[in-house]
Amino acid sequence: MRPKIDVAGSVLTIASAALVVTALALVFLWAPREITMKEVQRIFYFHVAVDWVGFLAFFVTLVASIAYLRTRDRKWDILGAASVEIGALFLTMGAVTGSLWARPVWNTWWTWDARLTTVAITWLVYLAYLMLRGAIDDPQRRARFSAVYGIVSFVTVPLTFASVFFLRTIHPALFAASTEAQGRMQFETGLGSARMGMTLMLCVIAFTVVYVALLRSRIRLEQMADRVARLQQEIVG
């Protein structure tokens, strides 16, 4: 059997690899050194990028959920589920690396500030979504319920952020450690912030391409599973 050459997939893989390598080079060789945190600060670049894309994934799922309820086309269901899966992976990596950055800098593994809490809650929503899918056998119902939950739970992200944000403004003392370290990065070279900004942007682009590549693979996997299921039906029927 002659395997067809997957052009788009190869392009995405190569692009992802190239972008990640470039990003790494920028992060370690070009980005400026931070004054207080020194080298450990470099975690920031991939950490922020992966969190950002992890939230982007939720937005993709929201759109896919709405599209599914309107069209009932299986492809939207596949997109929504695949996006949540990869989003969960990214947020997990984001949270873990965030802790690894927090520990040397703030001397704590975790704090319940606005951003971290929102990440935690979003992660729980992703988990809930995946568990919901796991608990339903009927494909139509599974798609429908997932879409409904995808829409309803999306609202909780900005609301959670707002709720914890207010918490912080009222009790600044509790979060002194985090407010100090967040957003107060100072760099050694004069062009510090500009370089940081550009490096960060490239990291975000790199992870977005990685996300798209993984998404495509995951979608194709699911389409293959659908074909297998259809063939099984055909044989039995």
Partner: protein
Amino acid sequence: MMYLSQVAAIIAKDIAAELRTREMLSSMGVFSILVIIVFNFALELTDRQIVLTATPGALWVTIIFAGMLGLNRSLAVELDKGCLDGLLLTPVDRSAIFFGKALGNALFMLVVEVVVLPLFVVFFDVPLIQPWVIVIVVLGTLGFAGVGTLLSSMAVNTRAREVMLPILLFPVAMPELVAAVKATAGAMAGLPVSEWQQWLTLLIVFDVILIAVSFMVFEYVVEE
């Protein structure tokens, strides 16, 4: 008027059903009392400061858990007895079913809260019977019952049934919980509304958004 009478009819049916067995209310009530007793031992009651800081949270935890018991029961019964299917056969607006069930659930939660609030006052000596506190409790209950009804109607149709509801509901209800606890603390302490109004605003925003969204997607859950 037709719409409202449909909603009212559904609420009336739920009340009638509950009055016959009183299963749901009694289990919610007993559960709440148990939680209060546990908090009694968990909180260091000698330190007044601790009591004042912790009671709003303890109150809402009690309400949330009792509420979930009620939500599970309410929708599970519909499923088991096939009442929902019956309802769907009638020419009733789907959203009327949602409001009917949600308001009914909210009503049951409120009945339990009528018992819980005085119990808190008695056991923890906290001034909870105040107009603002009651407003906050009602608002919190409405939002929770609204989105809870939607999610519960999905949860009971899954393999994991009752276990699924907390998993789905907690992350979604989190901002409402934070806002309700903070607002309750402010109101309980007798602070002027301006001091804690952002929590009240957040609570209302949460209610409006989530009830609106829930009501819009409910029809997709019950279509079969």
